[in-house]
């Protein structure tokens, strides 16, 4: 039962990634692209967690944690760059 639900969940998250990719390519505003990238990072974290549960290893969580931090910092850096033209003032 768990394996089946994990497979269904993986398909759903992959579909969500495709939706994000569509929004990332289409735009139209710059804010939409930033939101799409930010959501893509979160979805990839979800995928990593699902893969970790499917394979039973516990090394995937470091990757997920690192990705969460890098995703947040990159989103903030991109926003600051657009707002001020400079990241560290």
């Amino acid at each position: 039962m768990i394996e089946l639900s994990l497979q269904i969940a993986s398909v759903e998250v992959a579909l969500a990634l495709l939706f994000n990719g569509w929004r990332l390519l289409k735009g139209p505003a710059l804010g939409d692209r930033i939101v799409a990238l930010d959501t893509m990072v979160i979805n990839v974290i979800a995928l990593i967690v699902l893969i970790g549960m499917l394979s039973g290893g516990d090394t995937y969580f470091e990757a997920a944690l690192l990705l969460a931090m890098v995703g947040f910092v990159s989103t903030i850096a991109y926003c600051k760059f657009i707002l001020r033209g400079d990241i560290v003032e």
Partner: protein
């Protein structure tokens, strides 16, 4: 007991993946940028929280390993998601303000202006004797 835990894990996984999918569907479906901010920053974060909870229960029940890493990730995400949403909303307001883009027409319409002829806090001078007015000195 084991079947109950299995059902709990499967339910949490499906719930989490469903919320992640709904968040991204909202990103595709909703008409304006400000509305599109809602799907990812709320639904997707909540869905990932459910998935991480499922992962904690799974490793405890199946493999007997107690890990709290996942809780760390969800705590981090729950703290940072509102901050990134705030920054993206600021970017959008800034670009509308400077005329780089036009607010798209939608059901909700453009965000209403703040009352009493003021402007959004992002564009206003800091008020006197507040922490933000002395931050740059």
């Amino acid at each position: 007991m084991s079947a109950l835990v299995d059902a709990l894990i499967a339910g949490l996984v499906l719930l989490g993946a469903g919320f992640v999918l709904i968040g991204s569907w909202g990103l595709v479906r909703l008409p304006s940028t400000m509305e599109r901010l809602h799907g990812p920053t709320k639904a997707t974060t909540l869905g990932l929280g459910a998935l991480l909870l499922a992962s904690v229960v799974y490793f405890q029940a199946r493999l007997g390993i107690w890990t709290a890493h996942e809780l760390l990730i969800s705590l981090f995400l729950f703290i940072t998601a509102p901050i990134s949403a705030n920054m993206i909303a600021k970017v959008h307001l800034h670009r509308v303000h400077t005329g780089a883009i036009k607010e798209p027409t939608s059901i909700a319409g453009a965000p209403p202006s703040p009352p009493e002829g003021g402007d959004w806090a992002t564009f206003e001078e800091p008020q006197k004797d507040t922490p933000s007015s002395t931050a740059s000195t």
